[in-house]
């Protein structure tokens, strides 16, 4: 399987597709950095969480976490949508499977190689913003901030893995590249994009009048789960997922939550994301293992 990961990584890093994605990530980081520069003065710096504000601060220009929420699904889909069916249609799948390897190492290798690529891209974006941000504001990050950022990084990878798993699932199910690209994109437009999300704005509100049910419905959307988790992870003042009534907030101290409390807050969300990812991958795994290999 190491061989397959090695080859897939080599493929990714030499492909035009990855070059474009990297460019996108770079542009997003630059823009986000600019946004942070514009907005950081207005941000609340009393609390001592200045460094994370670099990632979350945006004015009318979106911040890095918004960009990442937008880009990560796209990267995941772009890396996964042709994983299996492209090999099948070019006839290379046959050739690989007739080598002495287990069939699952093909799909595992592709998934892992995709994850590594995704991780590198996100790491580059975060380090760029962190590095230039450090120069710009001159405030070093505290230990807790670093841990929060790291957990956020892991959450991003999980979120990306979900979209990649979804794309790989469609690439196992459908022979046509166009279909396997359109299906995850359609799901992304409906449920997963942060800019204009018909599910969050129209569909879920139309289905219920109760706020509680509305929130429950929203949490079907992987984007919503991800957005809630990142917000709570990077903003220690963020304490209520959903609606807080006046009685809830009366007497609430304006103090940052400790790391474990923030984590506790988003634990269900993160678990749900991990679950979704595992389900997507498991289904593609099973379907792929049982599929006939016939090229015709």
């Amino acid at each position: 399987m190491i061989t397959i990961i090695r080859k897939e990584l080599a493929d990714y890093f030499t492909s035009i597709r990855c070059f474009i994605l990297f460019l996108l990530v770079l542009v997003a980081s630059a823009v986000a950095l600019y946004a942070a520069q514009q907005g950081i003065r207005g941000a609340d710096t009393q609390s001592g969480f200045v460094f994370t504000a670099l990632f979350t601060t945006g004015t009318n220009i979106p911040s890095l976490i918004t960009f990442i929420a937008l880009l990560v699904p796209v990267i995941g889909i772009a890396l996964g949508f042709d994983a299996i069916n492209n090999e099948r249609s070019t006839g290379t799948l046959n050739r690989i499977l007739s080598q002495p390897i287990y069939r699952d190492s093909v799909i595992n290798g592709k998934f892992l190689a995709g994850l590594v690529t995704l991780a590198i891209m996100i790491l580059v974006a975060m380090l760029l913003v962190a590095g230039y941000g450090l120069r710009m504001i001159g405030v070093p990050p505290g230990a807790e901030e670093i841990i929060r950022l790291f957990i956020y990084f892991v959450a991003v990878i999980i979120y990306g893995a979900f979209w990649m798993g979804l794309a790989i699932l469609f690439s196992v199910l459908f022979r046509s590249l166009a279909v396997s690209l359109l299906c995850p994109l359609a799901i992304w437009i409906l449920l997963g994009n942060p800019v204009f999300n018909p599910y969050v704005s129209f569909i879920a509100p139309a289905m219920t009048n109760s706020i509680g049910t509305y929130l429950l419905l929203l949490r079907i959307s992987p984007y919503w789960l991800f957005a809630e988790s990142t917000e709570a992870l990077l903003d220690p003042f963020f304490r209520g997922l959903g609606i807080l009534t006046v009685s809830d907030t009366t007497g609430m101290l304006y103090r940052p939550l400790s790391l474990d409390q923030s984590l506790l807050l988003v634990w269900p969300q993160l678990t749900a994301l991990i679950c979704l990812t595992v389900v997507c991958f498991a289904v593609s795994y099973v379907v792929f293992m049982r599929q006939e290999i016939r090229s015709t």
Binding site: D11, G91, Q99, P100
Partner: protein, 311 residues
């Protein structure tokens, strides 16, 4: 000399959606021979091959390759078997060498061994000059040759070639055929599917013909020919300078001769075994001059047509 059977299927059966594609197939391939698997499109040849490699599961029956069960121990089978698919594909962006290197790695070869082996097989198929060219720029024939290199790079004991000459020009076909014919000497048994009967006849030692998933006939090529046209007997053609009824009579008395027909100076003799030595002696003893004598060969084309007229 009894040859060792290295590939054997026992009542191998495959069904797709209730339709039987391969039906109780029993094949036997001896070591170091070229075995031709023939049959019209859709006869179940490719499905059979996939089952041999453990890439698809049989509905019943089993296949053994060098003693390993294809369904239960596919990895062991695939370690010693090279497979050239009918529609072969390469990573177009990678060079010939990189494509082969990937396969070598998948076979757990060390880097040194892989490089040596890659150089050797590229030379064998005549692609040394384009070893570092991207496969996307290759012609159909070059890809086909690279496919053969791809099979050989792992030093297989069994090579399964599905239409190895499809889409090649005549010269390319000859090169590939010569290459395949040389494999048994290097210790590789070959199973090949082809629709080009002439080629099969040139290089295959034994064949099997499939139709609708069933085995029509299997065995030694010459034996099958005799079976098909002379009820298992030899037909010997003798040309003399003058065929007298007397000569016909004398030949007819040779032990093993079943029938003699005279047609001008040609005598068609049907026998139980290859009696050329005995017949030539009789002809010369009778005072007639022996101009030429040969065992009639059956073209595979005729055999094939014959079986499919019946079927």
């Amino acid at each position: 000399m009894e040859k060792q059977i290295v590939l054997e299927t026992r009542d191998l059966t495959k069904k797709y959606d209730g339709r039987t594609v391969v039906d109780h197939l029993n094949l036997h391939v001896a070591e170091n021979e070229v075995f031709g698997l023939l049959g019209p499109n859709g006869a179940g040849k490719t499905t059979t091959i996939l089952m041999l490699l453990g890439l698809t599961e049989p509905a019943s029956g089993n296949a053994r390759v060098f003693g390993f069960d294809s369904t239960r121990e596919p990895l062991k089978v695939k370690r010693i078997t090279g497979y050239l698919p009918e529609r072969l594909g390469f990573y177009e962006g990678l060079t010939a060498r990189q494509n082969l290197r990937f396969i070598a790695w998948l076979n757990n070869m060390t880097d040194d061994e892989a490089e040596r082996q890659i150089d050797q097989v590229l030379a064998e198929v005549g692609l040394t000059e384009v070893a570092d060219t991207a496969v996307g720029k290759f012609s159909r024939g070059m890809k086909q040759r690279l496919g053969i290199a791809d099979v050989l790079v792992k030093k297989p004991r069994l090579a399964i070639l599905d239409e190895p000459t499809a889409g090649l020009d005549p010269e390319g076909i000859n090169q590939i055929i010569d290459l395949i014919a040389a494999l048994p000497k290097m210790g590789t048994t070959v199973v090949m599917c082809s629709h080009r009967l002439y080629e099969v006849q040139r290089i295959c030692h034994s064949i099997a013909i499939l139709a609708k998933g069933k085995l029509v006939v299997e065995g030694d090529l010459d034996a099958i020919g005799r079976e098909a046209f002379a009820e298992g007997r030899y037909r010997i053609e003798v040309e003399t300078d003058g065929a007298s009824p007397q000569l016909v009579g004398v030949i007819g008395k040779v032990k093993g001769v079943k029938n003699v027909e005279a047609k001008g100076n040609l005598l068609h003799i049907t026998t139980d075994s290859d009696l050329r030595a005995a017949i030539s002696r009789v002809v010369v003893d009778s005072g007639a001059a022996l101009v030429q004598m040969k065992v009639e060969e059956f073209s595979l084309d005729d055999i094939y047509k014959r079986y499919f007229q019946e079927g």
